[in-house]
């Protein structure tokens, strides 16, 4: 990369093995749909290329051929129109337009009629995090962790040679098997988000108060990025994750592994709490290493701190307050902040919250 000199990559936010620094390598066609769309894409590109060549070719030729002589003007043609020519150049584009419309329409309609045996997946967007649930596999909930280390941390980690998978609790946002259709049902808890997986050529807005659906069938195993494509506020750019495509046999095993959030043997409660914290994406809105407020108050030294609330009263951030703030976040808003935090009720159980509180105690 020639221009890489100007700025080394800072935030390798997803960093999966499928993705390299090659700018052209981001877009394999990894679903049945993607292959069909790519064919049409190539067709349109060829069509546009030929048209462009025709228009610009004629233009450049005329520019050269009919250049004004150095002295005076050449005698120009009095031609004003040509009915037959104009009809032809209206009719030919019109025909191609009909072809394009029909072709695109077929692909589009297919994307909306899922086969009956599709796996159901429910996707819920919220600022700035995706929650993915598998109704067919009770309890299986994934989320896009937006816990990206800060630039400073990354530098330290890289310097220490520790930059790797185990630093962040990095889990896929979506796990799907190859060869099995997957049906997405999307909605949102706050504003409009858009669930976008480029390698599947898939995008669908998640609209609050409404449901939208979509389906796809993955064909290629690997890990691919996943974005929010509809502007949704401050951390829109961090609302990304990755989709992991595994073989149909491996699917259930992988899903179980990925959705697990349990204290490991010999892991301290606080360390487990840090993993919970990362999984919850809390870092998106709360600073932990300095006192600066982001969308929410800084959590540095939160435990035992006195906070003034919007209603004027003060409260000490004890276990109960932290617990309430996780389960019913907007009950008591610290003065100067707006009620923006989603509830984690149902996602975190008591063990998780206990661990989280232990972790927060360590943030001094």
């Amino acid at each position: 990369m020639i221009l890489g000199l100007f700025g080394a990559p800072k935030a390798d936010m997803v960093g999966t093995e499928q993705m390299s620094a090659d700018p052209w390598a981001l877009l394999p066609a990894a679903s049945t749909n993607a292959q069909a769309i790519d064919t049409l894409y190539v067709f349109i590109t060829a069509l546009c290329g030929i048209s462009m060549l025709g228009v610009v070719g004629a233009q450049v030729y005329f520019m050269w051929k009919y250049k004004k002589p150095a002295n005076g003007h050449r005698k120009t043609s009095p031609i004003t129109h040509n009915g037959r020519l104009e009809f032809i150049w209206s009719a030919i584009p019109a025909l191609f337009m009909i072809v394009l419309f029909a072709w695109g329409e077929i692909g589009f309609v297919e994307q909306f009629s899922p086969p009956p045996d599709a796996i159901n997946v429910r996707v819920t967007g919220q600022k700035w995090d995706w929650t993915v649930e598998y109704p067919d596999y009770p309890g299986a909930v994934l989320s896009s962790s937006s816990a990206v280390p800060t630039e400073e941390q990354q530098k330290q980690l890289q310097a220490a040679g520790e930059w790797g998978e185990d630093i962040i609790d990095r889990k896929p946002t979506l796990i799907v098997p190859t060869g099995v259709p997957v049906r997405l049902t999307l909605t949102s808890k706050d504003v409009i988000h858009s669930f976008y997986i480029p390698v599947f050529r898939l995008k669908r807005d998640a609209v609050p108060g409404r449901y939208t659906t979509y389906w796809f069938e993955a064909t290629q195993e690997g890990e691919f990025p996943l974005f929010c494509a509809e502007y949704c506020g401050d951390e829109h750019s961090s609302m990304i994750g990755y989709v992991k495509v595994v073989s149909a046999e491996q699917f259930e095993v992988e899903l179980k592994e990925a959705t697990k959030l349990e204290q490991k043997d010999a892991e301290s409660l606080a360390d487990f709490g840090k993993r919970v914290f990362d999984r919850g994406g809390c870092k998106t809105c709360h600073n932990i290493d300095n006192d600066e407020a982001k969308t929410g108050p800084s959590l540095k030294g939160i435990w035992g701190r006195s906070e003034q609330l919007t209603d004027g009263s003060t409260i000490t951030a004890d276990d109960n307050y932290i617990r309430e703030s996780v389960l019913d976040p907007n009950a008591k808003i610290v003065s100067g902040f707006s009620p923006q935090m989603p509830s984690f009720a149902g996602r975190f159980n008591d063990e998780h919250i206990t661990a989280l509180i232990e972790y927060l105690k360590t943030l001094k």
Binding site: T124, Q126, K189, D190, P208, G209, R210, Y211, T213
Partner: protein
């Protein structure tokens, strides 16, 4: 020159004749009469139960009234044809705006039906988890109003957040319309006020955003 007028590139022979039409007084009186009669008809029709027809009938009567006003009071009948074109053309664009948007909403029914979007809302409403109404979105104001209406009943429940905590998100939702319903009946007031702490929480997400099968 003074006498030569060009409109739309054509010379007009007698510019003072241009758009000058005095209608007889009688005509205006008749039109007013017709309009008043039609108004009585509209009101009368609203008392007759026409079921699904009531909207089209009401709109039809209104359209007739509107045409009378346009044609006679606004002189469209005798006006420059281009002004008529402007008016009718405008209605055409209104029609485009209406038809496409309503068409889309109608066609979205498939997903709404399948996902039971509106049924789900109704179920939630029946369970007391409906969308919050009006001042309930402004917790301070709702609390003040509740206090004003509940008199001294509220003290026992005032600052107790314990139950809100225990029930988590669900309780924040419960302050919806079902709650307001309770307010409506005198004897239920105290009970309604029992939820007052929850009333102070502004849940960011409306209740119905939870996927029905998700939790």
């Amino acid at each position: 020159m003074g006498s030569q007028v060009y409109v739309n590139g054509k010379e007009i022979e007698n510019p003072h004749e241009f758009h000058h039409h005095v209608a007889p007084k009688k005509q205006y009186v008749q039109v007013l009469g017709a309009l008043l009669v039609l108004t009585v008809l509209t009101v009368a029709v609203s008392y007759a139960d026409l079921g699904p027809l009531s909207l089209p009938v009401a709109m039809l009567v209104a359209a007739v009234k509107a045409s009378l006003v346009c044609a006679f009071f606004m002189h469209l009948k005798d006006d420059d044809r281009f002004n008529v074109f402007v008016f009718v053309g405008t209605l055409l664009f209104v029609a485009i705006f209406f038809s496409f948007t309503l068409f889309d909403l109608g066609a979205r029914n498939a997903v709404n039906d399948e996902q039971k979007t509106f049924e789900y809302w109704n179920d939630e409403a029946a369970a007391g988890n409906a969308l919050k109404v009006g001042v309930d979105h402004v917790p301070e104001k709702a609390a003040a109003l509740k206090a004003a209406h509940a008199g001294g009943h509220g003290d026992g429940h005032g600052g107790d957040h314990g139950d809100a905590k225990a029930e988590g998100h669900g309780d924040a939702k419960a302050e919806g319309h079902g709650d307001a319903k309770a307010e409506g009946h005198g004897d239920a007031k105290a009970e309604g006020h029992g939820d007052a702490p929850a009333g102070e929480h502004e849940a960011k997400a409306p209740a119905n955003h939870e996927a029905p099968g998700g939790h």
